[in-house]
Amino acid sequence: MRCQEASSAMSLKMDQRLSESEERELTEHLASCPACAEEQARYIGIESLFADARWLPVPGGFSQHVMRRIHQRRTRLAVLRGFLAVVIFGLVAVGTLALLTSLLNPVFQQLVRYPFFAWLVTTGEGIAAVLRTVVYALRLVLSTVLNSLTPYVVGYLALAALLLLAWTRTVVLSRRSSGMILQNNSR
């Protein structure tokens, strides 16, 4: 055994991690190497210094204080999340309503001019007329939407989808772990 190996063996010995044969080798080396024997004496000194290592009692009311802080944070988070939900749903609802009104306005105007009731009564092809009207209306809606897919409209739709997705994700995650947002609020 060389001095370097002996040194790490001594550390292992302090933790009762040496096998019998390793311990024998170490003892042999220490008997023939005064420098390592001196180091071992210092290691034993460390053991006796830390043998006095003790635990301090925990300050009174510790766990109550922890639980109070946890409860406060959870309440604050719940209020914040409710407020966010109201704001996001409000924005999405108002935006969607405005978009639909402006997009469908030409459709309504066309339908008014369509002789829907006349067809229904006079030709007796009421059902066919209704179907044709529905198909016509759908085609009109679709073409209007497709024609009006300006960057603004696309952007709005994407933003609305993103906000809704983000909201559902926070709710789902918080149910699972009671508040992922919290972890960065601590500072």
Partner: protein, 201 residues
């Protein structure tokens, strides 16, 4: 505390049950607080760090793996939090609330005669820990105060067992060198004092 009871507490706490979590806090406040105290060297900051450890544990219960020892998991959160604090130590100022809420801190040696006897030794322990760089201090505290095995220390620090072995060895080397230097300077001082004394006669 039976293992079965603890398992129930953990399960309920993971589902957000504050009462069950309070039981876990009671059960593990001692090791967590004492780890923070030995790492930070300051009882007030240790109390705050220990509380923060439990708050983090509660909000991150999804990172707890049922197979893991709960003590390893909570001590791992505590160690990483203490290391964070030591890293940004220069920026840390205790808040007014911390100062006003300061409680009497009981001494670990309640008997006066023993206190006087051991004061020097306790100062030496504190000084030795403070001298050690953070990762070495952590393995020493876990080894001597928490009586943790190499495997447990590895689990807590998220290092390999062989890394822990060599870190403990290195830490002991540093402590031995420190104690030796301290001894030598004490001898030099003593000799200087003796010389001064003999010259004055």
């Amino acid at each position: 505390m039976s293992a079965e009871l603890e398992r129930q507490w953990i399960e309920s706490a993971a589902a957000g049950d504050e009462e069950a979590f309070a039981k876990l806090v009671e059960a593990y406040q001692m090791p967590v607080y004492n780890l923070a105290y030995r790492m930070l060297g300051n009882p007030l900051e240790a109390e705050d760090a220990a509380q923060e450890t439990f708050i983090r544990a509660f909000t991150r219960f999804n990172t707890y793996k049922p197979g893991l020892k709960f003590s390893s998991w909570i001590l791992s959160i505590a160690s990483h939090h203490c290391i964070d604090r030591l890293r940004r130590r220069r920026g840390v100022v205790l808040s007014m609330e911390d100062i006003m809420g300061q409680r009497w801190i009981p001494d670990d040696h309640p008997y006066p005669e023993e206190m006087a006897l051991k004061r020097e030794e306790r100062a030496l322990i504190a000084e030795t820990l403070e001298m050690l760089p953070t990762p070495y201090r952590l393995v020493i505290v876990l080894r001597y105060w928490h009586d943790a095995s190499y495997e447990e220390i590895a689990e807590i620090t998220k290092d390999s067992v062989s890394a822990i072995k060599s870190r403990l060895h290195r830490a002991r080397d540093m402590i031995a060198t420190h104690l030796q230097k301290r001894e030598q300077s004490a001898q030099v001082e003593r000799r200087l004092a003796e010389n001064a004394l003999s010259r004055s006669f």
